[in-house]
């Protein structure tokens, strides 16, 4: 009986028609992504509702004019986005961000003033490395070889994200971490002005990122951090 059972089980096991495993995997990935997006949409709606309740109507105001126009990839800002207060982006901030985006898109060299002692590059609240101003002319030097960060797989580069995004937004000071609460700045640069560039709300949280540029009163860049959203 055992042999017969084994044979029958073998027959049953062979009944599945083999497909291209890459196709099966691709289909599974697409399903997973679609479900993730659906979860994020509901999560974002809940997050925004919580933010409105938490900050009150006084802080949910009209957005300042913070659009960035760079070359052919001019960006637009949807109205009515929640801003957590703080100073509005100045003309200098906008020019600085525009310079970084142009550099990311290889339109020209970085039109930013870097600190002589170098610029610290980091992820989220962590400053990981320091690069000399001369090194920063090379996009490869902006890459952080961290393997994993907030469920995203590295390496990470602020320039890559800025290059790939078409619809960007600038803010100054603490800002919501997409649907989550603001993330504090790295301890070493907390005293500096934080100018952030991130995609507009239409991209959803999965594609959300922020590149935070820390500048002093003279507009000299001391640190640049990248942060991503994780479910």
């Amino acid at each position: 009986m055992r042999d017969e059972l084994r044979r029958t089980l073998q027959v049953l096991a062979e009944q599945g028609q083999s497909r291209d495993p890459d196709q099966v995997f691709l289909a599974a990935t697409q399903v997973a992504r679609r479900r993730q997006r659906r979860t994020l949409v509901s999560g974002t709606v809940a997050g925004v509702a919580v933010a409105i309740l938490a900050v009150g109507p006084g802080l949910v105001g009209k957005r300042n004019d913070t659009r960035v126009a760079v070359g052919s990839g001019a960006t637009t800002v949807p109205p009515g986005t929640i801003v957590p207060g703080g100073p509005a982006a100045s003309e200098r901030d906008r020019l600085m961000v525009a310079g970084l985006i142009e550099f990311a898109r290889e339109v020209g060299p970085p039109a930013l003033t870097f600190a002589e002692e170098g610029v610290q590059l980091g992820l989220g609240e962590d400053l990981i490395t320091r690069r000399a101003p001369s090194e920063l002319n090379d996009p490869a030097q902006w890459v952080l070889a961290t393997q994993e960060f907030r469920s995203h797989v590295g390496p990470f580069s602020a320039l890559t994200l800025l290059r790939e995004s078409r619809s960007l937004d600038v803010s100054v000071g603490p800002h919501p971490h997409c649907a989550s609460a603001p993330v504090p700045p790295p301890a070493g640069v907390a005293h500096l002005r934080r100018v952030s560039v991130h995609p507009d709300a239409a991209d959803g949280c999965l594609g959300w990122f922020t590149v935070d540029i820390y500048v002093d009163a003279e507009g000299i860049v001391h640190a640049v951090t990248l942060d991503l959203w994780a479910p």
Binding site: L5, A13, G16, R19, P21, R35, A230
Partner: protein
């Protein structure tokens, strides 16, 4: 760089696992379902939470997931058949298979899984119990129950 974007290493891992997962899915899947769908769903559910390469044993994890999905599917289909007897008559019955296969397909997916893993793949009951999330004794009990049912069916057929 983005979440769920860099899946090349997972894809490579899955390519290696696929033939074994498909065989397992074919054993535990209800007759109405394509085993490939079970494998795909198990991978989709896993990828939402983990990268395959981050799991200690992705094969074990995926088999567990396939078995859970198969058991849920069987429960849903049974409930549907109970609620609608006409549907039960129209559904592709296990009786369309040769008698030995049909007898096997009447067993619950978890019992089929135990028998397949032990008899064909040579797993120990301890390993099987880990997959099923039960004690070793319970895994043995399921196997004996399955064998008893098959023996009874065989005896009835030969009578």
């Amino acid at each position: 760089m983005r979440f769920l974007r860099d899946t090349s290493s997972d894809q490579e891992r899955f390519r290696q696992l696929y033939p074994r997962l498909l065989r397992f899915a074919a054993v535990v899947a209800p007759t109405e379902d394509d085993p490939n769908d079970l494998v795909q769903e198990a991978v989709a559910q896993t990828l939402r939470r983990h990268r395959l390469t981050d799991l200690q044993s992705p094969e074990h994890y995926l088999r567990k997931s396939i078995l859970r999905l198969a058991s849920n599917r069987r429960r849903t289909l049974s409930a549907r058949r109970r609620a609608n007897p006409r549907l039960a008559r129209m559904s592709p019955a296990v009786d369309s298979h040769p008698s030995d296969l049909a007898d096997l397909l009447r067993l619950p997916p978890s019992v089929r899984a135990v028998l397949f893993l032990v008899e064909v793949e040579g797993w120990t009951y301890r390993q099987v119990s880990d997959l099923l999330g039960c004690s070793e004794q319970a895994a043995r009990a399921r196997a004996s129950r399955g064998l008893r049912q098959l023996r009874t069916a065989l005896m009835e057929e030969t009578r």
